[in-house]
Every structure is written in C-alpha cells, then in structure tokens.
Symmetry: C2
Subunit: 225 residues, 2 copies
C-alpha cells in the first residue's frame, strides 16, 4: 500500500495552480493533469506545466496532458478565439469575454475520470473566487455542487473529494503561501496574450502583478511593459 | 425571436438517444451533439448519428461532433481498451467493465458549454437507470446533482435544464415510445463490438433485443446470431 494518498492536481501552468500543487504535495503523492483547449498561449502553458512538474519531482507516469480542443471549436471566449479582443487591466463587474463556457467542469470531470483509473482520493483545482475575473465556474458553491455530483455519478465517488484550497484567498495571500512553500513561481506563466515576454497589460497579468505588489514580494517574471 | 426554445440532445447513435431526440423534437428546435472517445465502434456510431440527424431534419449548423479521445487515453474501460474482453448477455450486479469513468459528466459538460454559446435552454441525455448496465453516471440522482452544479457554475446556468426523460423507463417502454413517435430506430446502432453486423451477444445487444421482445415489437436491425 502507498503510504500517502494520491491527489490529482489540475495544473494550468499559472500561479494559482502551482501554489495549489505545492499545497497538495505536503500530504499527498501528486499526479498532475494539464489540458490544452486551443487557447492562445497553449504551448507556453504546456512548457510551464512540464517545468513545474519537474520542479515538484513528479515522474512522467503521474503526468497527464489532455486535449480539450473542442472547447475552442465551440467558441464563445476571447481565450480561444483570436478574432475577439482581450481586455486590459483590472476585471470589471461583468463576466469577461475571456470566460470559457463551463471550462472548469470539463477539467474537474477529467480529474475525476483519471482519479477512478489511478485510484486517487482527491482532485485539486487552483480556482480563486475573490480577486478574480468573476468566472462563475470559479465559485466555492460550484465546487461543492460538483463534488455532490461526483459522489452520485462516479464509481468511486463516495470517497473522492474536490479540493479548491485557494477559493477564498486573496491573490496576495496566494503569493505569500506560494513563497512560504517554496513553490516554483519563477516557472509559472499567467499572460493571456504572449508566449515569450508577458504583456503586463492583460487582465491576467494585471491580477498577478497586483498580487505580488500587495504581498510586498517581487515577481520573478519579466514583463514587456 | 425563435418560436421554440432550443434543446441540445446528446446523440450517441444508439436506441435510447434516438428516442430522446424524438421526444425533445416535439417542443424544441434540436441541436445534436455527438462525441467520439476512442470507443471500438466509434465510426459506426458516428454514421448512425449523422443518419438520425438527417432523418430528424437537423441542419449541419446544429450538429456538433466533439473528440473526447482523452477518455481512451485515460483508460479503465473495455469500450475503449481492445485488450479487455467485452462481457456477454444480461448485466450482472456489479458495475461492468464497459463503464467509461464518469463519461456522462463529460458529455453533459460539453452540452452545457455548447448551450451557453448557441443559447439553448436544456441539455437532454438518453440515460436509463432501470434495465441498464448499472453505470453510476446513469442515475437520476446524478443528473439532479449535475443540474445544480450547472446552475452554480455556468453563466446561463440559472435557466439551463438537464433533461433525462428515459431515466425511469423500462427498455421496453423506451421502444414503445420510440415507435409511437416514429423515431428512426432503423438507423440506430447499439452493438459494443461490431460495426457491420450487430453481434447480438454483447451486453448492449442483449439489452436491446430484450427491449424489443418485451415491447412485442420487431427490431429493424439484423444480428449475426
């Protein structure tokens, strides 16, 4: 028997999922799941995923990369449709055009399917409800409801947990947790637009820089402006 | 404005989803979603999907075929892993090896994502709880829980319904409903194993033949034995 229970962590390659993986690693054997879905910066995020997995010592057999390219085909988001303009600066009051319809349900379902195959006991997602873009699939209430659906719809659902440890934290607090855990934040990628030098202006760059600023920490990433 | 609300129906190409589409067509404008996921009979099911869509008069722009090939990569099911043997005859008491881990969550999530893009008000699934293989993701309780998750996690979730009109019906009753609605049952494909002549022996063929027998109706499909 394994000494530690296995946890699947959804790792996009961004700041939040990197901190989430570092948190899960304290008490679990990690298995990391990454998805591409036709988003603009897919290749750069994939590289960040592999580098974070290397840094956390996760072997190849506990890494999984899946293709959710149909999300881009279905459309409806500026993340996957280059003809739509990406917003700049802080989030507004509306759900932004970068929302990918019901994306987190697909990611969580993939985590659950893999958990059933490899015998993991939890699926971790680095979603943030506060200080975020206001995506409806990043809310704590959604994760609670999804966990109940897993309990009723998956073979091992009764013993499977959905963990969203950042959901109620501020972005600054997430940076502080990451630094305290020595998470490899220098390997993460947040920019929605660029794949070489982060643009510094898109909503995701804005949220990240603000987080480091409020945490009184220096962001290891360089920015174009 | 459209006179009728739009309904997305998950159409595998099998008997149950065909009857479900015919039921939804009575009061909705149909949009049909089909998924391939590396299952043995994917090409045959795809053909059945297109022929059913033709018969129901659904134009190309309201058909969508998505690739969930990662379900086969994750493994764990005899439907997607040809090295595992398919069971014969009636379902047993255990969840069978043909269970694809949490598959219906992926199908429903895809339906919800598409619904958000094209403005549909419901997602229909032809799952059957009674007279079935005992898959946990075919239970009415799961669909209720998933609908609550949609309500909390999708942008238009408040007005999106998950409809599983067959879930409490017997297979014989499903055949009777299909015949009453003049659903194109002759175009459906149920066999888990073959793609030319239905094997007549796998669990899915067994359930289908028993349904027609109990309904006192003749199955338009030919069988190898």
């Amino acid at each position: 028997m394994r000494a530690r229970q296995r946890a699947i962590v959804l790792v996009s390659g961004g700041l939040d999922s990197c901190v989430t993986a570092a948190m899960a690693a304290r008490a679990h054997e990690l298995a990391l799941l990454h998805a591409t879905y036709g988003q603009r910066t897919a290749a750069r995020e994939r590289r960040a995923f592999e580098e974070i997995a290397d840094a956390l010592g996760v072997p190849a057999e506990r890494r999984c990369v899946i293709d959710l390219g149909f999300l881009a085909e279905l459309g409806g988001s500026a993340l996957t449709d280059a003809t739509l303009e990406l917003p700049h600066g802080p989030p507004g009051r509306e759900i932004p055009i970068t929302y990918v319809p019901f994306r987190n349900a697909h990611l969580l379902a993939a985590g659950v399917s893999w958990a059933e195959v490899i015998g993991a006991s939890s699926v971790w997602i680095g979603a943030v409800e506060q200080d975020s873009s206001g995506y409806p699939d990043c809310r704590a209430a959604f994760f609670g409801a999804f966990e109940r659906a897993v309990r009723l719809g998956a073979r091992e659902g009764q013993r499977l947990r959905i963990e969203a440890p950042l959901v109620a934290l501020s972005k600054a607090e997430i940076v502080r947790r990451g630094l305290a855990l020595d998470a490899p934040l220098q390997l993460t990628w947040s920019c929605y637009r660029s794949t070489d030098l982060a643009c510094g202006r898109c909503e995701s760059c804005w949220l990240r820089r603000e987080a480091f600023r409020l945490a009184g920490a220096s962001d290891p990433l360089a920015y174009a402006e």
